[in-house]
């Protein structure tokens, strides 16, 4: 009984703030307080007409797509090497590339800022954020793709080569289709991580902010708060959608290969 109460309290603590987002996003009043004033979609309408927001969203989407692609490519190389090949120092190397997973983002942000601006003398822009986001997303991609590659029977690629394919042909025709769900899942998760990442983007963005940085800027104007709520609602919905999609892809991949679930992110 006490365990049940604990579980319920835990869930409320975890999700109540998020539930407040859509409630106030549709509330017809610029002050965030109960009682609610009535239903409106005006805040969503305002989102549609704010040019600065559109630019920020554009930046974020570009950064998220590019870093997801880069991180997934890197993750694929690492996962394949880590699960299918044997080489000296494998454990150490694998541990080392997973390190950014626990590295505080602020450290990544500050060090990259120093390297880019002071050491290399370059100016900031979307590409600096892309670099940093690729760095923090890659360990997640490796974790997801490790699962996909570990489930793969090693003799699959050998069988393809035995049947006349080159190394690359075997990878393309057999390995790639079998890990495709893992790849999609990895793309979606790294996209999501990049999309709502704030600290690094705040440090490394140039003149044109990303969406989370833009939202943070809005907070200085209290009457803009409901607009932020509306934007937040859209983001939450989008995140849930993407993560669900990623998990569905992962499970489908397991089912397709006729394997049992060995645990994923959800």
């Amino acid at each position: 009984m006490s365990l049940r109460i604990y579980a319920i309290a835990y869930l409320i603590f975890l999700y109540a703030p998020i539930v407040l987002l859509p409630i106030f996003a549709f509330n017809d009043g610029s002050i965030i307080a109960f009682p609610l004033q009535g239903f409106t979609t005006q805040w969503f309408g305002e989102l549609a007409t704010t040019a600065a927001l559109h630019e920020a969203v554009g930046n974020s989407l570009t950064i998220a797509v590019v870093s997801a692609l880069l991180a997934t490519c890197l993750g694929m190389c690492a996962a394949r090497a880590g699960t299918m090949a044997e080489f000296p120092g494998k454990r150490g190397i694998t541990g080392f590339i997973m390190l950014p997973l626990v590295l505080p983002e602020i450290i990544v942000a500050v060090s990259l800022l120093v390297v880019v601006v002071r050491v290399m003398g370059l100016s900031l822009g979307n590409w600096t954020i892309i670099l940093a986001h690729t760095l923090i997303c890659t360990p997640f991609c490796i974790a997801i793709l490790n699962g996909a590659f570990q489930n793969l029977d090693r003799s699959m690629e050998e069988a393809a080569m035995d049947l006349g394919q080159s190394r690359w042909g075997a990878f393309r025709l057999v390995t790639l289709p079998l890990v495709a769900p893992g790849i999609v899942s990895s793309l979606l998760i790294s996209f999501t991580i990049s999309l709502d990442e704030f600290i690094i983007a705040f440090f490394l963005s140039g003149n044109s902010p990303t969406m989370p940085v833009y939202i943070w800027g809005l907070l200085r104007f209290p009457d803009k708060l409901p607009v932020v709520m509306a934007l937040g609602t859209i983001l939450v919905a989008l995140s849930i959608l993407l993560l669900t999609l990623a998990e569905i892809m992962r499970r489908r991949g397991l089912a397709r290969a006729g394997l049992k679930d060995t645990g994923g992110f959800l």
Binding site: D153, S155, M156, E158, A159, A160, M161, D162, L163, G164, Q165, S166, L173, V174, P177, L178, R256, A257, G258
Partner: protein, 361 residues
């Protein structure tokens, strides 16, 4: 028969581990050849070396007269049936079988006919449209066979292909594999740890221990005249007795502990046997218990039943004989009117010097 595969002085190291030791081997055109041995003996490494998945550390490998150095698996005239079958789960049965034909210049319709022919050959005609992961173990095995044979390789390599099947299925597939091999007429190389499987299916068997070939012979010679104690104990059941060779001539005079003096035919001993201590092997089925009233012109020794294991068609007795270290295992057919003896029964055992094998060590 001509030699199809020739290995000369092949060594394989994994770091410090010596997986294959100086292997010299000739495998003939069209034979069913088995590599038999306990796990870790190097038999799978040897198979994978022939397939092109492992490089030799030294030595040479020729297939059909061609040096295989630097020839990768996809360019060798070999195809393999993997232990896990490695059926591609994202493809249908037909697509799996057709996988090797991707670089084949033939037209679509012709390839489809080839696939159907291959499937019919393994008894899966009409299965082309099925999803691969919905197949049973035995069916997967057949798909793997069809997929390998469609390329008409000179050699088919089979890596423990029957180990994942249950006993009934395994026996059925043994017969089918033998039929298939006769039908296509190509060389089959089977890797197995199951001595019975190897004896049933093979024309010749190489027994491997610790990266070396211990004995290479046809099944009957291997069973009747193992050349060492480890081969003798790995293949079938064997009683080991202590003995001493006293004289070597046209026949070999031996003093066998507990059984007495006898003369063993020379071919039952290793070449160059000299007077001195040797191990003597006797198969359980070459010994016989004499039941009440039975007589024999063979030699007889007295003993006492120590253990009885009843198998239905056979009974295995362990009989303690004075002067013999361990009780001798004797297998007897349960013929009509023949009783199953109790433990502790005094009995007579008939034996024959022609069934003794002299073993070094």
């Amino acid at each position: 028969m001509t030699d199809l595969i020739t290995l000369q002085g092949v060594n394989k190291y994994y770091g410090d581990y010596h997986a294959l030791r100086q292997i010299d081997l000739k495998i003939r055109q069209g034979e069913f050849f088995s590599l038999l041995g306990p796990s870790g003996c190097g038999k799978t490494t040897l198979l994978r070396t022939i397939a092109g998945f492992e490089e030799t550390s030294s030595g040479s490998l020729h297939i059909d007269g061609r040096d295989m150095r630097g020839v990768s698996a996809n360019h060798r005239p070999t195809n393999m049936v993997f232990q896990s079958y490695a059926i591609f789960p994202h493809l249908s049965v037909g697509e799996n079988v057709a996988f090797g034909l991707r670089k084949d210049p033939r037209g679509k319709a012709e390839k489809a006919r080839a696939v159907e022919r291959a499937l019919e050959m393994v008894g899966l005609g009409g299965y082309g449209g099925r999803r691969a992961h919905a197949l049973s173990g035995g069916q997967r095995q057949r798909v793997a066979l069809a997929r390998a044979l469609i390329l008409e390789p000179k050699v088919l390599l089979l890596d423990e292909p029957l180990s994942a099947l249950d006993k009934k299925m395994r026996e059925q597939m043994q017969v089918e594999l033998m039929r298939l091999q006769r039908q296509v007429g190509i060389t089959f190389i089977l890797v197995t740890h199951d001595q019975e499987e190897a004896l049933v299916m093979s024309d010749r068997i190489a027994v491997m221990f610790e990266g070396e070939i211990g004995q290479l012979d046809d099944p009957e010679t291997l069973y009747r005249r193992p050349n060492s104690k480890r081969v003798a104990s790995f293949i079938g059941l064997m009683n080991f007795l202590r003995g001493r060779v006293t004289e070597v001539g046209a026949q070999i005079e031996v003093e066998v502990a507990g059984l007495g003096r006898c003369a063993v035919p020379a071919e039952q001993a290793p070449a160059g046997a000299a007077p001195g201590d040797m191990s003597i092997g006797i198969r359980p089925e070459t010994l016989a218990i004499l039941f009440e009233g039975e007589t024999t012109d063979r030699r007889v020794v007295r003993g006492m039943v120590d253990e009885v294991v009843y198998y239905g068609d056979m009974t295995y007795y362990d009989v303690r004989i004075e002067g013999v270290e361990k009780p001798l295992t004797i297998s007897m057919k349960n013929l009509i009117g023949r009783p199953v003896l109790d433990v502790g029964t005094a009995t007579r055992v008939a034996w024959d010097e022609r069934s003794l094998v002299l073993l070094a060590g």
